[in-house]
Symmetry: C2
Subunit: 415 residues, 2 copies
């Protein structure tokens, strides 16, 4: 089996060489063909998905996981529509990043190139299978997919349909491959496939990401959890603070850019905390704190993770801090460097928060829910990078590219 | 001891916060002060270096290593001059990389920011200690240095002198720290210091780099070995091919951008191989091959590493290939994705080689010795990245930076 998997990865590498020189029109045609193929294969996809769902129910998957696994006619139409949206994004490949001519006449050009082969390890969400295949084609990369075993049958039918479409567009079937059938061993092998996998992106639980970061010997982009903060400064406009806190917490709770902690400047705590807490409680949010809060009767204690808890639910932690320094210190200490916002009318406080909070996205007077590839105008996103190497924040097509230096001479040698 | 090391790394992290908001003028002043301090401390530096050299001779270090360890008055002057050259490079911090205004009025700006704390693990070369400290200051980063133990006494005096200089410029002493005194444990801890070390750069032997890539759980930039190729196409101008091959092989053999393999197109092998081999042999280069070569009596066999051997000496491997496809295939298979050059007057062959060879730097009619931060106009370099993530090719100041998204609103929330 390891030999079979190595052979598969070698095929991906070979496919990536063709993709790397394929024109954008051909890669976009392949994405369009994928959209058509998914619609055409709807019956087979739904049948496989029904089998996965039955296995899932038998093995006791919870309702949330089953819902993420579920495909129906409307979701299949959504997959095809998402693919078509990707087929019209600008092609990042070949973009000139830097250029210069040296005194000796050498012409240096740094151009954007595909990575080669991207590996993605993710959980049982069939829509991710299609999104990632199309994002890879859009950025000139081959992709090796390791989805959750709960979606194995659905993914197999999806990948088969996509491979047919890619072949019809004249590109290698191996541009998109799944290694679900190799089970957990496959994921481990992917993490150590130096020379065959050029970049590995884990998407999913903190435990999955931790395992990949720890075990992987190929370059990884960490798409981390979001312990996201709003700091309500003493110069905050209170109605704006209420809007932003309420939106960031309650508009969708299960996502990484939703709000987990509100910090309030001590000077305005007596008025702001009761107002914020009341608005949240009226929306059904449970307040957690590690001390008494003005106007909040019996807040719940902080969860086990303390100030570093990512609730992903209708829970929020509220704390009072002495000043903007203390807020920055708190965010940098307990946060996950994802997204943090300050609400204030004080330009100096805003400037300090934006400069000193060490997060992928820092905001002034805006809801943290805007940290999203779609909202940023990237089309689809691969994930939101919370690391500082290679990509930071929402990752679109350019974030799945590398670069190379092209040097053109007329026989220059070094003195 | 682990506690003491953690405390040290925490100090580095704290220093990085000050550096991250320090203006370029102040960081440049610190670099100037370092140049002065190294000249002022010359006697103490030379005394410590003499002790290191004595230890090195006693422990049997070879002449090459002892030479790299050696400092003398002229080399100290060189260190100070290199620092002063870095103090006048443009500051990368704050550069706007992308900006856009969303339909809802949100203003998005992606700006260049320092990584935070950079760890570097390198071998016993005191000049690297000073270079890296100055490069880190120039890019707004704190740096934690783990040099080779053979240079421990020299590095200690250098770092002490640099810390004094940095403090005189009003920046934290902990902006530059050494962990040499923690021995090999220190390197291991650096590799796992998630949250304290933002980027780790190994510089040195293939074994060192392999260890770091395998063990590290923090993001790494691999500065790999150079199995560097020249392909002499059938449309090559032979005198140019001779110039380039001779320069790339013999101008300096111990460096990663020196030539290790020449591939010659079969159609011109009968004339080109004898001419190239003769020129190389006259320069004192030993020819290695895995088959008979036209005009070369008894070539040496390939070294143990076969076509993937990095000689770093007056040795070269010569092979004959059928065409440009075979050359590209050979380079991608046996090379290290560092630098490869094609010599040809055929624009189509050049275009294919430049597009399809998967290396950090691809060249047409130029010597591979130009892959160098200084030659590229970057000032000093941290190393040459042979990976595709984050940085590729020579790494200057911009390659030691990350980015962050700044979002400015007027109370926008997500619908």
């Amino acid at each position: 089996m390891p030999d079979e998997l190595d052979a598969l990865l070698t095929e991906s590498k070979r496919a990536s060489r063709s993709l790397g020189v394929a024109p954008a029109e051909q890669r976009h045609a392949a994405i369009e063909a994928i959209a058509d193929a998914i619609e055409d294969a709807a019956d087979a996809i739904l049948a496989a998905n029904a089998d996965d769902l039955e296995r899932g129910r038998a093995s006791g998957l919870d309702a949330g996981l089953l819902d993420r696994l579920l495909l129906d006619a409307s979701r299949i139409a959504g997959l095809a529509a998402a693919a078509r949206a990707l087929a019209v994004l600008p092609d990042p490949i070949g973009e000139v990043l830097r250029e210069r001519t040296l005194p000796n006449g050498l012409e240096l050009t740094e151009v954007r190139v595909p990575f080669g082969v991207i590996g993605v390890i993710y959980e049982a969400r069939p829509n991710v299978t299609v999104d990632l295949a199309c994002i890879a084609l859009g950025s000139g990369n081959a992709v090796v997919l390791r989805g959750g075993s709960a979606a194995e049958l659905t993914n197999a039918v999806l990948v088969e349909a996509m491979q047919g479409a890619i072949a019809r567009a004249g590109l290698p079937r191996a541009s998109v491959q799944t290694i679900d059938r190799f089970g957990r061993d496959g994921a481990g092998r992917l993490m150590r496939a130096r020379g065959l996998i050029d970049l590995l992106v884990p998407r999913g639980s903190a435990a999955l990401i931790e395992r990949v970061v720890t075990e992987s010997t190929v370059p990884v982009i960490e798409t981390g959890a979001g312990v996201v903060h709003a700091f309500v400064d003493r110069a905050a406009h209170l109605p704006m603070a209420l809007d932003i806190v309420l939106n960031a917490k309650t508009q969708r709770t299960s996502v990484c850019n939703s709000l987990e902690t509100v910090l309030v400047h001590r000077d305005v705590a007596d008025t702001a905390v009761p107002a914020i807490a009341l608005a949240l409680q009226q929306a059904g949010v449970t307040i957690h704190a590690d001390a008494e809060l003005p106007g909040v009767a019996d807040p719940e204690p902080l969860r086990e993770g303390g100030w570093s808890t990512e609730h992903l639910s209708m829970d929020i932690a509220i704390g009072v801090v002495d000043d903007v320094d203390a807020a920055i210190e708190h965010v940098n200490r307990y946060g996950t460097h994802h997204t943090d916002t300050i609400v204030t009318d004080d330009a100096d406080a805003a400037a300090r928060f934006l400069a000193e909070v060490d997060s992928a996205v820092v905001m002034h007077n805006a809801s943290t829910r805007f940290t999203d590839g779609g909202e940023f105008g990237f089309g689809a996103e691969v994930g939101i990078s919370t690391q500082k190497s290679h990509a930071r924040g929402p990752m679109g097509l350019p974030e799945l590219t590398s670069s190379k230096w092209i040097v053109r001479g007329t026989g220059q040698v070094r003195a």
